[in-house]
Symmetry: C2
Subunit: 414 residues, 2 copies
């Protein structure tokens, strides 16, 4: 299908999808889950084509692993759709309804965004996941996946469209852009008439390309250069446990700790113990001059380290002489994602919560909790590091907007 | 000041402005109001320079009137700042605070956006207004006004910076871009590092230019092709009153009615009476074939009329045979701003509220109420016709975002 035709089909399906009842949406999600498992072999066969091409093109082991679909992974995709079916439907709730002096009743009602565009890399599991999130919230989704996963995506989308068709629902609730050329992708990012919001899911390069080229409003999910600051009054055992957890529990994720900021008064008590633990876990430590002698196996940090998101077994270590200096350092180098203070001081805890500019600011806990599931949303579209529309972990609500509904009895404006 | 230097100054002032107390902000707004009136003569003298240049350049009477500052208009600007001082401060409110099973307390706190960029035309009253809205919500504002109002804007900004300085507050809470070249404006729209959100205020051309060129998130305020649909069960006296009000109470505004949609069963009873009233008010009526014979002084409408925002004493008239056809017509041609149904049918009222896709949907009331003041917000930044972040009339809340604050006692992720 041509790009403009895809846009037109999406807009045509939009009113029907927006109008579906909660039961219709949930039943369809459960049916899709069953159908994905039923068609697992076909999907895996399509995925093997992609894998073969990937190997022939010299794709790295890491990327191949992300591309691979197995029976278990397809079960995981199906399980995700079932979980979405079990969540509350946010659509239709009236958030408030107030009476104006002239008698007008003005309410704000939660409604779908309309048509959501998702641009992502060669991770076919995103295909079912993105559809599920959008469908649950009454949105039509247009998918533009990585070219390396085209066969896999086609098989998954065909399967979902089959479920929709058999249920008598609009197949065009999910549309796949199969022309993966750069020109088409660029044109897609400028289809303001047909797409209400664009969400890039993937690495920093993909996100930057979408932010720089899209004329459609974008929800930016971003990188995390997350800090943990150990205050002078910190419980040091707690500090060690939290830092080791935030750095090593999973290193390739945006809410992992990348930089440690230490008050000079606890440096000597903390760093020898901590660096032994981190070294045991295989973490490379890049420390500033003041802390380096206390860091077992440390190497000198340079200016560039303060701004790095390693996504690896590496941490930078910076000494400060006050909570104010810590806050200033963090606000200069962070990516506005997740930041933590370890402290026993009421005053410093409140100051850190107030003054650190980030989507999530913690006292005495690991930054690894910044996550839609950990926050209790039951689903996650991504973690927004922009300030518009949604900030921090995004659940289903991020895929909705509101409209004002006004009940009158003949009011005119004087 | 160079553009990048302006960006740096804004970011440097941001933490101080964000941290101001409600009293500090309100006192400053009142002081600015007093100082604007005190310096009214200087501001008017600067405005005369702009007016002279405008006249010499053959600026239209309408634009000259928008550019003009008088003692009364400066009093109006001051009065606007005093009204803002009287409003509740939205910053710092914690919207919810929930306990997770692991004991983490997760709250969502309302905070400023950071640095707000405003791009507008030669309307110097916007200068004080935009500053007031941004300052009240703890934001730094960077202003880029029309080149035709440069002297006026400079005088107003100097006055406000003087008030800030004398109060011991950061002068850079307000910054003016004085290089009004197209290159600088384009560069400004790509300063993602320094600006958190960009709000264009002005006509459709300005807004389109910002949407198409900005890489910074934009809040789009837009045009209004607003419809009123008269259902078969409508109270026709009410319908006439509402239509005349929505069309003629003020024609040059985005919430004025531009198109009438009439059910065929009430056409004969409604149109002769209505068209007489509209004709008396000087309204040109462009009607479809079926309604034309009933419209006194009407002319034939063509396809283009359905999509026009006239902003003038003109209205288009379309006949339909059902509420469904009305909804389909409106959803095809509207600009998602404000739409109304006049009806006595419970079922059709609910259907219209549900299915019409717009920021504000009315039953039995004039579309002219779509306005921050009429909705009871006490202030208005504009009316958003996009679906992200804010939709419909925007009050102070549209200039805020949230951050998650998390209280723990040593939690790590298992």
């Amino acid at each position: 299908m041509e790009l403009l035709e895809i846009g037109r089909c999406a807009r045509e399906a939009e009113p029907q999808v927006r109008g579906l009842s909660t039961d219709e949406k949930n039943n369809l999600l459960l049916q899709c889950a069953a159908d994905l498992q039923k068609h697992a072999e076909e999907i895996i066969a399509a995925n093997e084509e992609d894998m073969d091409k990937g190997r022939a093109n010299g794709m790295s082991q890491g990327l191949l692993d992300r591309l691979l679909l197995t029976k278990e992974r397809i079960e995981g995709m199906a399980e995700g759709l079932c979980q979405l079916a079990a969540l509350d439907d946010p659509i239709g709730e009236v958030l408030s309804m107030k009476k104006r002096p002239n008698g007008l009743l003005i309410g704000q009602k939660r409604v779908p965004l309309g048509v959501v565009g998702i641009i992502y890399e060669a991770r076919p599991n995103v295909t079912a996941d993105a559809f599920g999130l959008c469908f649950k919230t009454g949105n039509v989704v247009i998918l533009k996946g990585g070219s390396d996963a085209l066969s896999s995506n086609r098989a998954i989308v065909d399967c979902i469209r089959g479920s929709l068709k058999r249920a008598g629902l609009p197949e065009d609730a999910i549309l796949l852009i199969t022309d993966t050329s750069r020109e088409t992708t660029n044109a897609f990012m400028k289809m303001n008439q047909y797409v209400d919001v664009l969400i890039p899911r993937g690495g920093a390069g993909l996100i930057r390309a979408v932010v720089n080229n899209s004329t459609i409003p974008v929800i930016e999910t971003g990188t995390g250069n997350c800090h943990i600051y150990v205050d002078e009054s910190a419980d040091l055992d707690m500090a060690v446990n939290i830092i080791v957890n935030a750095k090593t529990q999973r290193v390739g994720v945006c809410n992992a700790c990348e930089s440690l900021v230490v008050h000079e008064k606890v440096r000597e008590a903390l760093l020898p113990v901590l660096s032994r633990r981190l070294k045991e876990a295989g973490v490379e430590m890049r420390a500033d001059q003041k802390s380096l002698p206390l860091v077992e196996g440390g190497t000198p940090a340079d200016e560039e380290d303060w701004g790095r998101e390693y996504l690896d077994y590496i941490i930078s270590i910076k000494t400060v002489s006050s909570v104010d200096e810590a806050i200033e350092h963090i606000n200069r180098y962070n990516t506005k994602h997740s930041e933590a203070i370890i402290t026993s001081s009421y005053e410093n805890a409140q100051k850190f919560l107030d003054q650190v500019d980030a989507a999530a600011v913690y006292v005495n806990a690991s930054t690894r909790f910044t996550d839609g599931f950990e926050f209790g949303f039951g689903a996650e579209i991504g973690i927004s590091t922009q300030k518009l529309h949604a900030r921090g972990p995004m659940g289903l609500l991020a895929l909705t907007t509101t409209k004002y509904i006004i009940y009158g009895n003949g009011q005119i404006r004087p």
